[in-house]
C-alpha cells in the first residue's frame, strides 16, 4: 500500500513541476518527483536503482538551482508580473497535454491485460537475501557479459559530452593572464 502513497506523491510533484510558473518551485518539485520515484523503486524491490535515482535527482536539482541563479532565471520568473492567459502560450500547453494523454493511452493499451500486482512486490531469495536486480554480483556479471557494448557506448557518450561541453562552453579567444585580468576589469 505504501507503494501507492509514493506514487501519489510522485504524481503530485510531477504535475507541479510541469504546470507551476515559478522555476524555483518547478525544480523543487522535480527533486521531489525523483525522490518519489526512487521510493517507488524501493518498494518494488529495486534498492540499487533507488539509491542511484536519489543521488542523481539530488545532484540534478542542485545543479538546476546553481544554473538558474547564474542565468538569472531564478529571479526573472519570480519577479515576472501576472499576465492574463495568452492564447499563444496556451496552444502548446494544450497540444502537449493532448500528446501526453495519447502517450498514456497507448501505454495503457499495451499493459492493461498483462500486469499482475504480485509481480511488483520485492523478491527475496531462499535465505532471505536479495536476488534479481538487487544482487550486485548478478548485475555486474550481466553488465560485463551481455551488455558490455551498452556500457561502452554510455562511457563513450559521457566522455564525449565531457570534452564537448568544455569545448562548447569555452571563451572565444583565450587571452594571457594579464589581458584576461585587464579585460575583466574593463568589462
Amino acid at each position: 500500500m505504501i507503494c501507492w502513497v509514493f506514487a501519489a506523491i510522485t504524481l503530485a510533484a510531477v504535475m507541479m513541476a510541469t504546470f507551476v510558473e515559478d522555476i524555483r518551485r518547478a525544480v523543487l518539485a522535480l527533486w521531489v518527483a525523483g525522490l518519489g520515484i526512487g521510493a517507488v523503486y524501493l518498494t518494488v524491490g529495486a534498492e540499487t536503482l533507488a539509491i542511484v535515482q536519489w543521488i542523481v535527482s539530488t545532484l540534478v536539482a542542485i545543479s538546476f538551482v546553481f544554473f538558474s541563479v547564474m542565468f538569472g532565471e531564478y529571479v526573472r520568473e519570480v519577479a515576472a508580473p501576472k499576465k492574463p492567459a495568452d492564447p499563444k502560450r496556451l496552444a502548446p500547453l494544450a497540444l502537449g497535454t493532448l500528446i501526453g494523454l495519447a502517450f498514456v493511452w497507448v501505454i495503457w493499451l499495451g499493459v492493461r491485460e498483462q500486469l499482475d500486482v504480485s509481480l511488483l512486490m520485492p523478491v527475496a531469495g531462499e535465505s532471505g537475501g536479495s536476488v534479481g536486480g538487487n544482487d550486485l554480483l548478478a548485475l555486474g556479471r550481466a553488465l560485463a557479459d551481455r551488455h558490455l557494448l551498452s556500457l561502452e557506448v554510455l562511457a563513450l557518450t559521457l566522455f564525449l559530452v565531457l570534452v564537448g561541453g568544455g569545448v562548447i562552453a569555452r571563451p572565444d579567444n583565450v587571452p594571457s593572464d594579464e589581458n584576461s585580468a585587464g579585460g575583466r576589469a574593463s568589462s
Binding site: 510531477v14 510541469t18 524491490g45 536503482l49 542523481v56 502537449g96 501526453g100 500486469l115 511488483l120 559521457l158
Partner: protein
C-alpha cells in the same frame, strides 16, 4: 497502474517541453521524460521476468540523462557567454 504512472511522468515531461519557454524549463521537462522512461524500463523488466535487464537499462538511461543535462548546460553557458542572456529563440545563433 504503476506503468501508467510512468507513462504520466513521461507525458508530463512532454507537456513541459512543449509549453515552457526557458532553457531550464525545457531541461526540467527532459528530466521528467527521462524519469518516466527509466521507470517504464524497470517496471517492464519486473513484470516480464527480466528483472536484471530492466535495472541495467534503467541505470543506463539515468546516466544518459545526466549526459544530456551536461550538454544542455554547455549550450546554455555558451549562449550566456555570447549574448549575456538565454533566450530559446537565440539558440540557432550558435550554429554560426
Amino acid at each position: 497502474m504503476m506503468m501508467l504512472l510512468a507513462g504520466v511522468v513521461g507525458a508530463m515531461g512532454l507537456v513541459c517541453i512543449l509549453s515552457r519557454r526557458t532553457m531550464l524549463g525545457l531541461m526540467v521537462g527532459v528530466q521528467l521524460l527521462v524519469l518516466g522512461a527509466t521507470m517504464m524500463f524497470v517496471l517492464a523488466g519486473i513484470v516480464s521476468g527480466a528483472r536484471i535487464e530492466g535495472h541495467l537499462f534503467g541505470l543506463l538511461i539515468t546516466l544518459g540523462g545526466v549526459a544530456q543535462l551536461v550538454g544542455g548546460y554547455a549550450l546554455a553557458i555558451r549562449l550566456f557567454y555570447l549574448k549575456g542572456r538565454i533566450r530559446m529563440s537565440e539558440l540557432r545563433s550558435l550554429k554560426k
